[in-house]
């Protein structure tokens, strides 16, 4: 099983044909066909078939590519680790976060942690696939909107907030102290989609319980995008109250949503291995800010 051959199979399946794969890989079409035929012999697996005059990936080729994806990912991960050594970040603090919390509770906690560590710790923040990163030991800490409830991972509740609306100060609703569901009728609402990692996503639960889940017209990933759109007058951002402590809402009005259920921020780390010093300090900073 040769790595180069797997790259050719991957391109063939992803791009749908030998000509397209050749273009993608920057080699000739005949080189692609030859590599695929050799791989068929080497692996003893059918990879390409002529369908209506065109060489097409077989179901085996699709399945092989699907099964090879984690193998490619770990190879990329190994190269990333080598890159980190090269730039002097081998001993870094690694954090995964859902995008909604990336620009609210995390930056001040990282700033405090770096102060406590005399600015010695390098930090790597990654977005998305929070649970996968944590389980695969790619990160030390993760934060999301709800417990993961997975064996081997500890869930730590950090803080609670409520849903708030972020809107331009000139917006007619900015004169209200709080906003009720009825106030938001006929308003274009901006918010996050489900984080996809928590067993129970408290942000989405709060949206649903407030009756706003079906009312979101523009879905964004990041808080700053939501606030920027509100600033441009595109609509009203419905976000968590953690955003108040960030600088993202400067020049904007923030109004709580009446009767909002709590939105919880959680930290997660692996249960079996003790947290190293930098991760422990960051967790303390996240929890202290909550207190």
């Amino acid at each position: 099983m040769k790595l180069n051959a797997l790259h050719v199979i991957d391109a063939f399946v992803r791009l749908g044909g030998t000509g397209e794969a050749a273009q993608g890989l920057g080699v000739s079409q005949s080189a692609v066909i030859k590599a695929l035929r050799l791989a068929e012999q080497d692996l003893d697996v059918s990879l390409l078939a002529t369908v209506q005059g065109r060489l097409t990936p077989t179901p085996e080729a699709f399945e092989l590519t699907r099964r090879a994806r984690p193998a490619f990912n770990v190879l990329r991960r190994a190269r990333h680790e080598a890159d980190m050594i090269r730039v002097g970040m081998a001993d870094r603090l690694r954090i995964a976060t859902v995008p909604g919390l990336a620009h609210s509770i995390l930056p001040p906690a990282i700033a405090s942690a770096r102060l406590a560590l005399a600015d010695t710790a390098a930090v790597e923040v990654v977005f998305d696939h929070v649970r996968d990163h944590l389980v695969a030991d790619n990160v030390d800490l993760a934060i999301s909107y709800g417990p993961m409830a997975i064996e081997g991972l500890l869930d730590v509740e950090l803080r609670r907030s409520s849903l708030v609306c972020v809107l331009g100060r000139e917006h007619p609703l900015a004169s209200h102290e709080t906003l009720a569901h009825a106030d938001l009728d006929r308003q274009r609402l901006i918010s996050y989609g489900p984080d996809g990692v928590s067993r129970s996503d408290s942000f989405q639960t709060a949206l649903a319980q407030t009756g706003l889940a079906d009312r979101i017209a523009i879905t964004v990933r990041h808080t700053d995008t939501a606030c920027h759109l509100a600033r441009e007058g595109v609509g009203i951002a419905v976000v968590d109250g953690f955003v108040i402590s960030s600088g993202l809402t400067e020049g904007l009005a923030i109004r709580p949503i009446a009767s909002s259920p709590p939105v919880m921020a959680y930290a997660h780390h692996r249960d079996r291995a003790p947290l190293d010093r930098a991760a422990r300090i960051l967790l303390d900073c996240l929890a202290e800010a909550a207190a």
């Binding site: 099983m1 369908v51 085996e60 080598a82």
Partner: protein, 298 residues
């Protein structure tokens, strides 16, 4: 990734585990110089020094601990991938899905499968009893075998064998003494048969009734021949079914009678033109098509 292949990852892990190139080479069945070269090439490719030379041993540098963990994941994932390839080769990873009727499944397909599993003993096979053209169009079947199907342009039809419609009557029925029956002989009987709209066989039988100037009015409609045969409960019941079922199945207490004039049926293999087959599915098609020449027409 230049400089690091899964094989190289395995070598670096072995050196970390055993501490010397000599022992790693022994464990991996390589020469010591090959191991040394792989370490040098990997370190050059990654752009980092992974091991320190200390007292004749290779010791992992503290900075490279996370890298070594990542290499462990590479070793594990590529071992899984090799296993996955083995499963693809054996036909275990992707089930062969065949849509058919019970009588074809128990006859023609069962014979073909007997040969197929001698070549692919670990193959996973799903026999789907459903409407083969629909199953193929929806992508829930790879191969369909059915009587005289009506299909869309995207489905390729290969006639496999001829059979015919036969009548089944109870042994105590006076008709059981006949050498054959006509549809007119059955016109006052309680007919258990197929729906003319839902079944290609039902459509053929209904058309034969029309040609004979008879109404096609089964008192009970069933989806499959085997269901009809099992429902012959009362004196006077009669059914018209495909002759393949009787070849595959024995029904005590029932007599098979040819129908005159003959109502021929064609058993067709169906594949989707625009979708390639797995190797196991392609082999089943080969077996079925080859056996077609050996199979005597019914």
């Amino acid at each position: 990734m230049s400089g690091l292949t899964p094989f190289h990852a395995g070598v670096l892990r072995a050196v970390d585990r055993y501490g010397t190139t000599v022992e790693a080479a022994r464990q991996l069945n390589l020469t010591q110089s090959a191991v040394s070269k792989i370490i040098a090439r990997s370190e050059a490719g990654l752009g980092v020094v992974v091991f320190e030379r200390r007292d004749g041993r290779l010791v992992l540098r503290p900075q490279a601990r996370a890298l070594m963990r990542a290499l462990g994941a590479v070793e594990d994932e590529w071992r899984d991938l090799r296993q996955a390839i083995g499963e693809l080769r054996s036909g275990r990873a992707l089930p062969l899905r065949i849509a058919s009727t019970p009588s074809i499944g128990q006859g023609l397909i069962a014979q073909a499968l007997r040969q197929l599993i001698s070549e692919y003993p670990q193959a996973r096979i799903e026999l789907i009893m459903g409407d083969a053209p629909t199953e193929l169009s929806q992508g829930t079947a790879d191969v369909g075998v059915m009587f005289s199907p009506r299909v869309t342009d995207d489905i390729a039809l290969t006639p496999l064998a001829q059979a015919s419609i036969i009548a089944l009557v109870r042994d105590d029925d006076p008709l059981a003494q006949c050498d054959f029956v006509s549809l007119t002989d059955l016109k006052d009987r309680r007919l258990i048969c197929f729906d003319r709209e839902k079944s290609p066989l039902g459509w053929l039988i209904a058309r034969a009734h029309e040609v004979a100037g008879l109404d096609y009015a089964p008192f009970m409609t069933v989806p499959y021949s085997i269901s009809a045969a099992h429902l012959m409960a009362q004196h006077g019941d009669v059914t018209l079914i495909d002759s393949l079922l009787i070849e595959a199945h024995r029904f005590d207490g029932l007599t098979r009678l040819p129908v005159a004039p003959e109502i021929p049926i064609t058993i067709c293999l169906m594949t989707v033109r625009s979708r390639p087959l797995t190797r196991v599915a392609a082999r089943l098609v080969e077996i079925l098509v080859r056996d077609r020449q050996l199979q005597p027409t019914a």
